[in-house]
């Protein structure tokens, strides 16, 4: 059970880290940049926020299946494929919420900081800090969407004992086999993990409230 919980955490934390690295800079850039097609890209990101996980799983399955374009990598039914699916699910969430919270800060702030001597990068950094509460909400949403996700990881991971079995897929299996006590225990672990992670993020949110 501990092993399954650790694998869940490992897959989800890896996927979340990648989503953060991709989603926050792109979200900020979408919010602050001026380019043609911005409305279309924004609409696509918002659509991505609501992607059905099973469909994502199906897409990743096809890409990594033996006859798929990346079949040679041999990633199907490994935790790498699960991470890929979770990144695709979580990134639009992180990106979209970052985008809307950065876009929501006072438009005068950037030029005002520039007028106090900030370089463009320093001003961008300050804007991100300013939007931190929203960005953390995005990270929480991304985490929640993938730690509890079952369809995509079942498809691409295959729920292989000792290799790709995670909390959600184990719960499905144990329930089907009538081991309700084990299923329930796994469910409680899942809830506790989720609670712990969200608490940590909320602490981060208040901690960064008023620096110095």
């Amino acid at each position: 059970m501990v092993e399954i919980a650790l694998r869940s955490l490992q897959v989800t934390v890896s996927a979340l880290a990648i989503s953060i690295v991709i989603g926050i800079p792109l979200g900020a850039w979408l919010a602050l940049g001026h380019f043609s097609g911005k409305k279309l890209v924004t609409a696509l990101v918002y659509t991505g926020m609501g992607l059905p996980p099973v469909v994502v799983g199906l897409g990743v399955f096809l890409v990594f299946s033996r006859s798929g374009p990346l079949g040679d990598w041999g990633w199907l039914f490994t935790s790498a494929a699960m991470v890929v699916a979770q990144v695709i699910i979580a990134t639009p969430l992180v990106m979209g919420v970052t985008m809307s919270s950065v876009a929501g800060i006072n438009p005068d702030l950037r030029p005002q900081l520039r007028a106090l001597g900030a370089t463009p990068w320093q001003a961008t950094w300050a804007q991100l800090i300013e939007a931190r509460n929203g960005i953390i909400v995005g990270i929480v949403a991304g985490f929640g969407s993938i730690i509890s996700e079952v369809g995509a990881v079942m498809l691409v991971g295959g729920n292989i004992a000792g290799r790709t079995r995670v909390l959600t897929t184990a719960i499905v299996l144990e329930t089907r086999q009538g081991n309700f006590d084990i299923a329930l225990a796994l469910g409680i672990i899942l809830l506790l993990l989720s609670f712990a992670a969200n608490s940590a993020l909320i602490v981060l949110q208040t901690r960064t409230g008023v620096p110095r």
Partner: protein
């Protein structure tokens, strides 16, 4: 002591979405002066300040800042040169941090060591030392405007651009801010441009006054002449309060 900076503007025009909002054939901001810029709302005063602060570039014409034997434009000014200037926006755009962190911001982006002394001094100047640890977003309008001014003054900028720094303030705060502006100028090698819709404030503080109407520079004159013997009929109307806006 180095000489105060000054500006030269030639055939400057600014437009947004194809609409011309500012047209200034010639304007010189003299070294060491307080140039008061007056005019009704929408006249282009804030646009002029953003241009002078090198935050945007004019659609046409040139804006040259002469600073220590360098002639700078928005394109050529280096970060260090830009850091000789500071602008205070019309609406204080404060960071969601403490008052002290707001005042420290400009010093911190410049890097370097411990600025505590300067920050505390600036806070005392604007009479906000008792609120140093408060969240800046909990301040009243007048307090926020004083923080906005303090975070510019603490940088001791050679060019200080102020956009209606006392709008909507009570008389006590107006007096306080006006005296800080005068103190800053007294430091010597500094030039100030003060946008205000309050002609009495321009009369109290400015060495010269410029009137903007509908994006057009109507008249620029030394303060006494501007108020007592304006050459343009529209200036006379504005000064006497006849010009309705």
């Amino acid at each position: 002591m180095t000489a105060a900076p000054f500006y030269d503007l030639h055939h400057v025009q600014q437009s947004y979405n194809g609409r011309i909002v500012l047209r200034i054939p010639e304007l010189r901001v003299e070294p060491g002066e307080i140039l008061g810029v007056v005019g009704p709302s929408g006249a282009g005063k804030s646009t002029l300040l953003r241009l002078l602060a090198f935050l945007e570039q004019p659609a046409r014409g040139t804006i040259m800042l002469h600073l220590d034997d360098h002639a700078l434009t928005a394109e050529t000014a280096t970060t260090d040169q830009r850091r000789q200037m500071a602008m205070v926006f019309q609406r204080p755009a404060l960071l969601r941090r403490s008052v002290r962190a707001n005042v420290a911001y400009g010093l911190r982006v410049r890097g370097g060591r411990d600025h505590r002394e300067q920050i505390e001094a600036a806070l005392r100047q604007v009479k906000l030392d008792h609120l140093a640890a408060a969240d800046a977003h909990t301040l009243s309008g007048g307090e926020a405007q004083r923080v906005a001014l303090a975070r510019a003054l603490v940088l001791q900028p050679r060019v200080l651009l102020l956009d209606e720094p006392t709008a909507n303030l009570d008389p006590y705060n107006v007096r306080l801010i006006e005296s800080l502006i005068q103190q800053h100028l007294a430091a010597g090698n500094t030039t100030i441009i003060l946008v205000t819709h309050n002609i009495f404030q321009a009369q109290r503080l400015a060495t010269r006054v410029a009137l903007l109407l509908d994006g057009e520079l109507v008249e620029t004159a030394p303060a006494p002449a501007f108020f007592q013997s304006p050459t343009d009929a529209r200036t006379a109307a504005f000064v006497s309060g006849e010009l309705v806006y």
